[in-house]
Symmetry: C2
Amino acid sequence: VIIAAKRAGRPNEFQGPETRRADQSCPFCAGQEHRTPPPTAVYHSGMAGGSSGLWQVRVVPNLFPALQEPGPFAPQHHGPYQWSRGVGVHEVLIESPRHVAHMSQQSDEEIDLTFRAYRDRIQAAGQVAGVAHALVFKNAGPAAGASLEHAHSHLTATPMVPALVREEMDGVRRHDRQYGRCVFCDMIQQEQRDLIRVLERTAHFIAFCPFASRFAGETWILPLQHACHFQQTSDECLPELGRLVRRSVQRLENALGRPAYNYVIHTAPFDIECKDHYHWHIEILPRIAKAGGFEWGTGYFINSVPPEEAALALRTVTPS
Amino acid sequence: VIIAAKRAGRPNEFQGPETRRADQSCPFCAGQEHRTPPPTAVYHSGMAGGSSGLWQVRVVPNLFPALQEPGPFAPQHHGPYQWSRGVGVHEVLIESPRHVAHMSQQSDEEIDLTFRAYRDRIQAAGQVAGVAHALVFKNAGPAAGASLEHAHSHLTATPMVPALVREEMDGVRRHDRQYGRCVFCDMIQQEQRDLIRVLERTAHFIAFCPFASRFAGETWILPLQHACHFQQTSDECLPELGRLVRRSVQRLENALGRPAYNYVIHTAPFDIECKDHYHWHIEILPRIAKAGGFEWGTGYFINSVPPEEAALALRTVTPS
């Protein structure tokens, strides 16, 4: 658990009955740069051919960080408890200078630069002393934990490998020991055989509703070729990936009326011993049903829409 | 993951802008008994001295069950996946014949009979062939996963010990091997030493905000005396416990304006080898902040209210 009293001070556009208009109240819009800390990275239009003025994607330290302290990470004991200062990094990636809330409103260039920023910032986090793992995620809509509607993502970096990533790696290792194969590669193969849960396949990626979907419309995107680190995705493949993610989110927007959702890039720890022990992937999690006591008491999930039905519905709404 | 397509059909009072009035539309009110399946248990007023007509607490099979199939539990393989029919039990405990939504509106007798029903129904689930564990929980408010506002709880029973309970037991065993003591007993001792997170202590129970609170105002209630099975709580202690839970929920109602919340009874599997390996407890989880991509990507939680501050605020609102 991260106790981050500073986060209590952040603005919340969603508390009123109506979300606010695009005006001076949004600190992420062009012209409001003075309201965020100095950027750690800025991406301009047509970057390949040189900067052309206005930024398209802007990365800043989070003003209300969950983690912000420099290392070292040195847990202290207090009776049966352990605690430490909040060592780590927390950045915000602002994905457009315009006040847009939905991925379908973002231009190709904004998407391409956003995914390039994901890769670059994960690589930069890997250079910070004591950082073991970096996570990139997006919270879209108040039910998904967002406090501002302007399109943005987060990067957090932690001095330990998160519990969930360790569990996934344990699962990969167990399957590898038993069958001598990567379980994610096996899933990709099975999905292409069954086809009923697949949404789309591109040259290098596949999108499908996982067999054990926790959420109605849950969508996973994986590289067809085994790879453990998202940040090693090539310049050529990044736009293909970013647009596949946008199309997958658009399917949800169209089928479910712009639901709240999270997406999360699951990538291996920086110092993974063996690349066989992880297969990076992106999970898109629509947040329609609310987790209840069953979920909190078991660690299991109840989902009332079978992934085969969800995939059928999502395939039939053609993303624009 | 439980895929329960039947649950998609359940009524949802919370979908409109206003929750419905207490009228014929509530299937849990007295007079609407024909709209639920025949009860598996019924508790009447003044039961000790014989039935006096109207029921106070009524337990029925869930009409939209997450689990309902008889055993045996026999997982099948499909490529790299495993699945099984939804073997288990899912009951609803209706906690009042009147249309009340909040614990503060429930009478002492309703609370006492509700907690007696929790105990009895867990014991009954333990008699079902193939059941390994039973969970009792309450979802209050739409943000906590409730679809009806009439005060009610759930009992689910599963053929396997839930992942989260197994994790807790592993933690207890690890602490026991290292220190020769129950970690929950150690927490109780530490809380009584620190005092700053304690809400209340009764003759047999303690209520406090845990050191690593995942949610603002999270409250745990534990028996002071080590015990692994909730269902072994004595007739004398049950009313003391039920009213402590009600007072703890009332503190949240008063301090936070009747927030959505879940509470969950964490009890040991039926066939636990050694009673040292678990300490039953109740977790009350206010659902104000929304979990976001950080939580889904790490398994960790961000909480912007330190438990010491939450406890201070909750102590000062005296429950009626």
